[in-house]
Symmetry: C2
Amino acid sequence: MNKNSIPHRIYLTEDQMPKQWYNLRADMDALPPLLNPGTGQPLKEEDLYPIFAKALAHQEMDAATRYVDIPEAVQDFYKMYRPSPLIRAYNLEKYLDTPAKIYYKFEGNNTSGSHKLNSAAAQAYYAKAEGLKGLTTETGAGQWGTALAEACSFFGLPLIVYMVKCSYEQKPFRKSVIQTFGADIIPSPSDTTEVGRAILKAHPDTTGSLGCAISEAVEKATSTEGYRYVLGSVLNQVLLHQSVIGLESMTALELIDEYPDVIVGCAGGGSNLGGLIAPFMRDKLTGKANPRIVAVEPASCPSMTRGRYAYDFCDTGRVTPLAKMYTLGCDFIPSANHAGGLRYHGMSPILSKLYHDGQMEAISVEQTKVFEAATTFAKQETILPAPESAHAIYGAMQEALKCKESGEAKTILFGLTGTGYFDMVAYQSFMDKKMQDYIPTDADLERGFSQLPKVED
Amino acid sequence: MNKNSIPHRIYLTEDQMPKQWYNLRADMDALPPLLNPGTGQPLKEEDLYPIFAKALAHQEMDAATRYVDIPEAVQDFYKMYRPSPLIRAYNLEKYLDTPAKIYYKFEGNNTSGSHKLNSAAAQAYYAKAEGLKGLTTETGAGQWGTALAEACSFFGLPLIVYMVKCSYEQKPFRKSVIQTFGADIIPSPSDTTEVGRAILKAHPDTTGSLGCAISEAVEKATSTEGYRYVLGSVLNQVLLHQSVIGLESMTALELIDEYPDVIVGCAGGGSNLGGLIAPFMRDKLTGKANPRIVAVEPASCPSMTRGRYAYDFCDTGRVTPLAKMYTLGCDFIPSANHAGGLRYHGMSPILSKLYHDGQMEAISVEQTKVFEAATTFAKQETILPAPESAHAIYGAMQEALKCKESGEAKTILFGLTGTGYFDMVAYQSFMDKKMQDYIPTDADLERGFSQLPKVED
């Protein structure tokens, strides 16, 4: 295909959609194992059965299977809203006056408003297939909660969602969407769990955090018969499901004879970034290609750029297994001023190891710059991005501007994870110039690190 | 193509997208002319120049040109968010247990959240090309205002939006989106115009209406140098631009060897319905095919099903030309309880004539039934529809249930005009069982009819 005639949007046909997920771990050195926090011993698959559906516990531990068949029911679910478009950002390129070619994979064209539906469909399907009675989860910005509510509604499973309190209050309409799909939603911390009551007692004015909501959801699942817990990011299983993003992107780029020089993604827990880069990282690890990979995280929650690579709990309540990851300490809670999402204290163990091994880069950015990039992008490309996604826009714009300086016509791919329809309070605060940046001090971070569990590595 | 292997979603390639709009009037009997309200004389194209950009005034009057070239800049704008998918509602079919095949054309995959962007792009382009200094418009549910703000931002034109007050208050985030794209937004009625001040004086507690917001926008445009007024529905030019919906739908259906037996659309001012049916109505008028066409309108604002086919003003302030259309009288304002959009007192003159000539049917539906259909649809098809769009869902479901009764495997096409992300107040009220239905009494309607202007027909 003539590169000058590359269409604005490339949609794969249904036949071209992936039939298998790609398990990046099969091409990586072994991850440090999950540890039992009591004994310090590595966990076995069976140890996860009280928390996760069995098939998902298996996927969490499985480093051997390179390609995992996507169940037909999940493929059918995907067909309701996928393939997502790969879009050439012609107007953004023109606006930036850059020789770079900018592509983005847009995952916001579904009611959940984000890529989260890709893993929600899989997790709800497996839970239903195993005859479970219900699921619990947490949600931060609300995208994961919406996605899981949609998937659970479709597969016929009850769902309880713990929503980080500040998001619950900032985004009242998210609650209504989740309820429309029939799920129960509870602001976290709440008095429905022991861990929630303890946190409320210690910090009555807390605006909540993902780590705390996870603790509550895990406790609720493990104390309710037939229930299991599901998580929308961080976990290996989630990155596996999200590989559909990268696989579709790679196929679409092949159709136009392109390969990215740089891949940019926002990074909170890592699900979108891990999914987007999966097949490109495979090429990198196997020596087939060598794209640069850049994670963009908020300056207010800089787990990769300023965190420690250490064993830590995945939640504030310290009830989960220990994972080795980049972390700010499980007690770290970003300032309530932070409206840009990506509030998680840790980072996917897979991405953490890749970053630690020098296979990818990371930068952090203040939220006012993020909203500036978001607004520019909206005006040029007619998509109103989620603040989370706008971190990747910012990163891609920086790369494109570097190309302008150097005169290089690099190919940039970034992940546009979702839409910002439920983030208008934050957009309004940005427009009204009331938005403040928050960057934790070194002392703030040291407090978090000092609470890291003592584990012999 | 084997009909059993019809994909869930059909996206045309860029090459398959329409290069011309289709002007349905070229195949219709002549419309009754627009009249000067003062003299009762038919208007000429030049008479519209003070209100509309010249190219748009021409399109408004032009019944001769069957196919109108889409300017390249508008085609390029379309490529940013089009083609929209034609979707087979496999899961809804299964849920309804119907032999019918249900397809819907989904126009909500863009930041404006609706089909309105199709005409906004054209109108902003022509205004800019003619060197105008700015535009004014009104918006009801907010979709048109968002769409026009996007288009004006892209083409570099200032914009003032008068938003119906009850929507402005019900949908605070719509305001923020419109402002993000750089437009000014004013709740209507307002004290920024003479007509607004007069309405506020007579009805201080009014929640506003589209007709009233139109009056204000027209006054503002005609009293501000270099400004013109644009409208998102009702007008012939808007139906012309929206024909892209029907043309894409027809091409996509041809690819799978389908032709609809029934076409269903929601009807407020008629822009979506007129665009969706355009090429199918062409087939009907020229004897090539004979699909049934069904308009679905709210029981609270039943302009076709209970209105009069008469000359009326397009606005409450009685400043616009007179158009012959189905109308409830330009003073008619639906109850503030009505949350389902489609609040306009009249109906597109093109659709009005087609309905009057027996070329299409119309039904009306109460809003609680609309939200019931919307919720069912969301759960089955993972798209959260706008209340406006859900009127069409309701209508299509009724047709599919008739097929279940008769055993006929009819092909149903409906227009899903947009998403409901900004309608969560209404969804919440439906869930909380606080939503009330409102049906005007005959006496209510008679009051509206008694105010119709006296025109010799």
